[in-house]
């Protein structure tokens, strides 16, 4: 039987959540216009919401850090010998804990919204009400079906550990960052609801909303990037994106958020596209919810899926249905009245942004279809079917062509009415330069596929045009601050596409059966298998193979891929050994040795990986610059 200490902890943590539940219920009355609260009132109550959830979350962390195995969640997910960081991250590395974190982040966004000088009182009332409604929904799920504070009847002195593949510092911070993105869009959603309820969706509304979109978007981008970086060096599959359903689930809100990020600019500057903005806001948050739903319900079996319990899936589905039907009904009744007839010409920046919006949504639709289609076929035809990367690559590539073209041109076209000549004048030199570059590179590498040459040309033109127009040579200031963020992000995207293509074209991999002293060759690289070491780590033993990379018969680099054996639970993980070069990563992975005298080792040569990460980094930093610029002005 659990000790009195544990009983108390469990009780106060749960009680604290009940307090938050009650406050949130109370806050929901602001949905009705007859109630209006002053800022002080909101400040107090949102602080209570935040504090109660934070308190309960801290208790969860405390029981993890003290390895209190009276708690079911700690027993199932932790171990006394686990390093500190992973005891900590164990708190949110499971279904119940991550749900509590989701709620905590909801209250954090609610709190920061209230303290951030929100001048429109009517809007604030509605937003607070809607945020509280969301908090309430997830809290009910947490309290009724997945409480992290359930105690065990039996006594245990040791826990069952955590999946060792998840014992990685990047993975410890990946979920919180991703959640900050997902949940950040709850506030965007609340803005949409508030705007519709108050019949006020205008420039002012857009200005207040835009920084929140940016913040959530930055976190989401960063979260996805961290996850993919982890997959690259930990999973040892030699890639960074696998079109896994759960990865897709995070990509979909990103695509719709990116569309939203651009169309809010049109609303802010030109006071048009109201209902489109509202629709995208709702869509982005719904996709975040669907992302959670797909992962949590266990409909999709994947590395990411936590415990599959159909009851939980049903609850999330019910909640999703309520949220969506409520918001889309509101949209159906209010959408047409919100629209203002701001007109713009066929050739104008507005049109360009709208076209790019459509392109992003087309990619979103393709990804959605690929993720859902196997489920659909399974349901209707009772056949199993897998959608592979080939589907995504072939369908998305042509759209990326168009996306690159419109990203290059749109920022150069004037608002409301522009002309093709105006663009051509600005773009001609960079076009000539990119054409030359693309041609030279294609010839030099002797790999002349039309598709690749076109993508090469298009991404070069995006990068060069963006940089040219971003840089204005004035005396003190090389960059014009207001468009620094955009310049960085757009050029980063160009670089990203460019490197992805180059990487896909020039990647090589080969599998060898190697004995000690063997020499392996791949693409002019020579690897000598030197020896095998046995290493003892903090909570694992490992077998380490040592390979030397030779150049002119001299060792230039050493590779030490490992297989780690964990005791609790007994699992083996493969640690890849990567040497990062400026232009190319070399990547060695070994398989779990069987009863044999050779080991099986895979060698990958992955060119331009650094530039892929650099591209993503530039996209994120660009977003940050935009935020900083907005806050300063």
């Amino acid at each position: 039987m659990a000790g009195s200490m544990s009983l108390t902890l469990s009780f106060i943590a749960t009680f604290s959540l009940v307090v938050c539940f009650a406050v949130s219920l109370f806050q929901m009355r602001y949905f009705f216009s007859k109630y209006e609260a002053t800022i002080g009132n909101h400040l107090l109550l949102s602080t209570i919401q935040l504090a109660s959830c934070l308190f309960s979350f801290l208790i969860l962390i405390y029981v993890f850090l003290t390895s209190n195995f009276d708690f079911q969640i700690v027993y199932s997910n932790s171990h006394t010998e686990k390093p500190f960081l992973y005891k900590l991250s164990g708190a949110w590395g499971n279904h119940e804990g991550s749900l509590l974190m989701w709620i905590l982040i909801l209250t954090i966004f609610n709190f920061f919204y209230v303290i951030s000088n929100s001048s429109d009182i009517k809007l604030r009332n509605k937003i607070v009400a809607n945020q509280s409604f969301l908090i309430l929904g997830f809290l009910s799920f947490c309290l009724l079906m997945s409480s992290p504070f359930i105690l065990l009847k039996e006594n245990f002195s040791q826990g069952l550990g955590l999946n060792p593949i998840l014992q990685d510092p990047l993975l410890a911070i990946h979920p919180p960052v991703l959640y900050l993105g997902y949940v950040g869009f709850s506030l965007v959603f609340s803005f949409a609801i508030g705007g519709m309820l108050n019949n006020k969706v205008d420039k002012e509304w857009a200005s207040a909303l835009k920084p929140w979109i940016l913040i959530a978007w930055i976190f989401l981008t960063l979260g996805i990037a961290l996850g993919s970086f982890w997959a690259y060096y930990e999973l040892g599959w030699g890639g960074f994106w696998f079109w896994d359903p759960v990865e897709n689930a995070s990509l979909m809100p990103w695509l719709s958020a990116t569309a939203l990020l651009h169309c809010i600019i049109v609303l802010e500057k030109r006071d048009t596209l109201q209902s489109w903005t509202i629709l995208l806001s709702i869509l982005t948050f719904s996709l975040s919810l669907i992302g959670t739903f797909l992962v949590r319900s266990g409909i999709l079996n994947s590395v990411h899926t936590f415990a599959s319990d159909p009851g939980r899936g049903l609850f999330i589905l019910l909640f999703l249905a309520i949220v969506l039907l409520f918001s889309f009904s509101l949209f159906a009744s209010k959408g047409s009245t919100l629209e203002k007839s701001g007109s713009f010409g066929a050739i104008s920046r507005e049109s360009g942004i709208l076209v790019n919006n459509w392109l992003l949504l087309t990619i979103l639709f393709i990804v959605f279809l690929g993720t859902i289609y196997p489920l659909f076929i399974d349901l209707i035809l009772e056949k199993s079917l897998t959608v592979g990367p080939q589907y995504y690559v072939t369908t998305i590539t042509p759209i990326v062509f168009l996306l690159l073209i419109f990203m290059t041109i749109t920022p150069l076209v004037g608002w409301t009415k522009g002309s093709i000549n105006q663009v051509l004048v600005k773009i001609k030199y960079s076009l000539i330069l990119s054409l030359t570059l693309a041609f030279a590179i294609s010839l030099y590498f002797d790999l002349f596929s039309i598709t690749q040459a076109i993508i090469l040309f298009l991404s070069f033109s995006l990068i060069i045009t963006t940089l040219f127009s971003g840089i204005k040579f004035s005396q003190n200031n090389i960059f014009v601050k207001s468009i620094l963020g955009k310049t960085l992000s757009h050029a980063g995207f160009g670089l990203f596409i460019l490197s992805v293509i180059a990487n896909a074209t020039y990647s090589e991999e080969k599998i060898y059966d190697a004995k000690v002293k063997d020499t392996l060759e791949l693409n002019n690289h020579q690897f000598v298998f030197e020896k095998v070491n046995h290493v003892e780590g903090e909570n694992y033993n490992s077998i380490q193979a040592v390979f030397s990379l030779l150049e002119d018969n001299k060792t230039v680099k050493q590779f030490m891929p490992e297989i780690r054996f964990y005791d609790d639970p007994p699992t083996a993980t493969s640690e890849t050994s990567i040497v990062h070069g400026l232009f190319s990563d070399i990547y060695l992975v070994m398989n779990v040795p069987q009863y044999q005298d050779s080991i099986s080792v895979r060698i990958h040569v992955k060119p331009f990986m650094n530039f892929i990460w650099l591209g993503v980094f530039m996209i994120i930093v660009g977003g940050m610059f935009s935020i900083i610029y907005r806050i300063k002005n």
């Binding site: 409909i299 999703l320 047409s336 009772e382 056949k383 639970p569």
Partner: protein, 176 residues
């Protein structure tokens, strides 16, 4: 006014999606074919649910006599329904059933076996479900007939007593 209709499209789409998800959630996937058939069993080493037994390794399945691998969990209701059939099967001569306890609490799994009887020669704990993924689990219970380390047959869902006579036993007989 006719433009107003497009504002209702999201609701319609949402309704369809929710219905679709609802049916997916309760979808019976027992008729799925599996790519694992004819292949070697995935490599694994799982801690035994029984304290006095060694780990349950894939090497245990490399044998001339056919083995049955049953993936189950205490939270899974159809597993309960199937258990009597497994008990019956285990009493037949020369049949060994191995269990993989999928995404379950080991204590609950033990209670489950204590309560309903133990048809298993050994049971491996697969709490995180990683081995289950390697076996290509869609929904449990699932049972596999293994011969010389190769997957011969896969049964999704609970084995009904009639299926025992119609399919499982004839396959076992052929292999012997």
């Amino acid at each position: 006014m006719k433009n107003k209709i497009i504002y209702f499209i999201p609701i319609v789409v949402t309704l369809f999606m929710c219905l679709f998800f609802f049916f997916s959630l309760s979808n019976d996937t027992s008729k799925l074919s599996s790519p694992i058939i004819g292949k070697k069993v995935p490599e694994f080493s799982l801690v035994s649910l029984f304290q006095n037994k060694e780990n349950f390794n894939s090497s245990a399945l490399y044998s001339k006599t056919p083995k049955i691998v049953n993936i189950f969990a205490s939270w899974c209701v159809p597993c309960r329904a199937e258990h009597d059939v497994l008990m019956l099967l285990s009493k037949l001569e020369g049949v060994e059933i191995y269990g993989i306890n999928y995404k379950d609490d080991p204590i609950k799994a033990k209670n489950f076996i204590n309560e309903l009887g133990n048809p298993y020669t050994n049971v491996g704990i697969d709490e995180q479900g990683r081995t289950g993924i390697d076996w290509g689990v869609y929904g449990i219970p699932e049972s596999f007939i293994i011969h010389n380390g190769k997957v011969i047959y896969k049964h999704i869902g609970p084995i009904h007593i009639s299926e025992l006579d119609d399919t499982i036993l004839p396959i076992l007989k052929d292999l012997k």
